[in-house]
Symmetry: C2
Subunit: 329 residues, 2 copies
């Protein structure tokens, strides 16, 4: 996907519905040229409001629909705006469940105008099965005790810190928000099950020996819904370095009130045992805790306690940064 992006919010009813768009603006502000908001829009990305025509004049290459709409269909007035953006020269990228090409007016306009439609939730490339063959370059994978505990955020913070230090590093996106942020990637939980590890091998190919791929994890080996995705991702990444991500106020696995959270040590052990199938030297290099649900004092105390218990740098990627983990590499 080419940037600059024009961020399309339509009339999304609350800020949470624009979570993906907000993630893009947080991590790639320089790519986000402005936002289009309709009269009833209740979200705000904190960037300039702009019309589609004006954005096109300013060089926007892709209009990004980084929002969640209920019902899973596209309102007719959004379709009109999408076609207007294509007529103004932009490609369209969407994180919606519905495929852009399944809407006949959108499909016809894209064909007529020669524009690209990107459905980041839906991988389209032919994928091989994983091979597990060692490849050159270094890889770091963010894994989690649960879903939505800060794996993407941590991976992006690692990439940023590495680049600041002049290291060769690329964030590799495995979920929709990450794909918009990287401009490329594969939505791993949407590939056919046979190709999970193969998709990650494609996503993170052989590279210079001193180059790091920073791979976004998905789910958790301890989540009964998604552990298969997490395991294939772990095997395909052949991670040299693992960071465990955790959210300490969670009382049960996300979406499953009956399912307890794993112990951190137990979670690290199972990740290591299974990671070693494709990389014998895999090890944990740090822990990233989202302490936003705690007071600063509580958060600091928890990080200190975990550091003593686990013998690894423990950070809050957002609040304290990931520098101690990179020092430890």
């Amino acid at each position: 996907m080419e940037h600059p992006y024009l961020m399309y919010l339509g009339d999304v009813p609350d800020q949470l519905g624009a979570k993906t768009a907000k993630g893009i603006v947080d991590w790639r502000p320089e790519w986000c040229l402005g936002q289009v908001r309709l009269a009833d829009c209740k979200a705000d990305l904190g960037i300039q409001d702009i019309s589609i025509a004006e954005a096109a004049k300013n060089g926007a290459k892709t209009m990004v629909i980084g929002i969640v709409n209920s019902g899973g269909f596209l309102p007719e007035h959004w379709v009109r705006d999408i076609i207007e953006a294509m007529e103004a020269g932009m490609d369209i990228a969407s994180g919606l469940h519905i495929r852009l090409g399944s809407i006949s007016e959108v499909k016809e306009a894209a064909e007529r105008l020669g524009r690209n439609l990107f459905d980041v939730r839906h991988p389209t490339q032919d994928l091989p099965t994983g091979k597990g063959t060692p490849r050159s370059g270094k890889r770091l994978l963010a894994v989690g005790t649960d879903c939505s505990v800060g794996k993407m955020y941590t991976a992006l913070a690692v990439e940023k810190e590495m680049k600041k230090r002049g290291m060769k590093a690329d964030f590799r996106a495995t979920g929709q928000t990450g794909i918009f942020i990287a401009g490329t990637g594969i939505s791993i939980d949407a590939v056919v099950a046979d190709f999970i590890s193969g998709a990650v091998e494609v996503l993170s190919p052989a590279n210079d020996e001193d180059h790091w791929d920073i791979i976004e994890g998905q789910g958790s080996l301890f989540h009964p819904s998604f552990a298969g995705v997490s395991l294939g991702l772990l095997h395909g990444s052949q991670a040299d370095a693992l960071i465990l991500c955790h959210e300490p106020t969670r009382t049960h696995m996300r979406g499953l009130p009956h399912q307890p959270l794993p112990d951190l040590k137990e979670c690290m052990e199972l990740n290591l045992t299974t990671a070693r199938l494709t990389n014998k030297d895999a090890k944990f290099v740090g822990v990233s805790v989202n302490t936003s649900g705690l007071s600063v004092a509580e958060g600091d105390a928890l990080l200190k306690k975990l550091e003593d218990e686990l013998g690894l740098p423990c950070v809050d990627a957002f609040r304290t940064g990931v520098a101690p983990i990179i020092d430890n590499l």
Copy 2:
């Protein structure tokens, strides 16, 4: 899929290409009314040759294309036979990679005649994500040290032995040959990654407390290509009882010359550790070794040795049967 089946072999070039069809005839001979072989067919299922018209007259309900063809397309003269079978009143079921409905003449004929097209490799139903919630009934899952080590065969032998003893049991198919044999099932490695465990929950729903679902495993937790599928299958099955399947002459993981086989104990331990996420009481009840690559004396010696080492009944499901494992339940 309704039986009796008419087995269509076309002009498959060797016996191996008809492996799926042979599996169906081995396990459901009473469902297989006859075989259709063209002039150049080099496979033989050992059942009567019959014409499509005659099979229809004898009550065939579904014509089964249980073969592998190279190139992934359907030869024109097979298309003609498929349409003839539909005109004679049969549904069509295929294990080919190509979808029957993607061939326009086949699709049109099915619509015109009101026949069903089953592509057993391609799950079509909407699936939920797995929940991990306990459900009633008992479940046994065949897991493996590798792919193609006898998991389906073992599961079918267990179902047969249980039924012989008057127990309530159903084989639950997760791969294409198994689906033809059960008449239903879900090709687990072909579902979208997010829904692996959810698909198994659908495949093996709540049942009578004394009913056993005998679930066909896929892949291996130690296979770098497919371990994600195996883990989701393990979590979705919530297995009470596990049987480890093994092929002792294998020198490396199937398809991956660089990848060593796991130790049997190591393999059992990782399966147990991960199975306990959704069933705390999961345990191994036996080992099933395919000893066909060994002499009878060597095979017997190996089974005895493993039995001593692992403290579990060790059988060759084909040669010695699975009775000692059922005794152990």
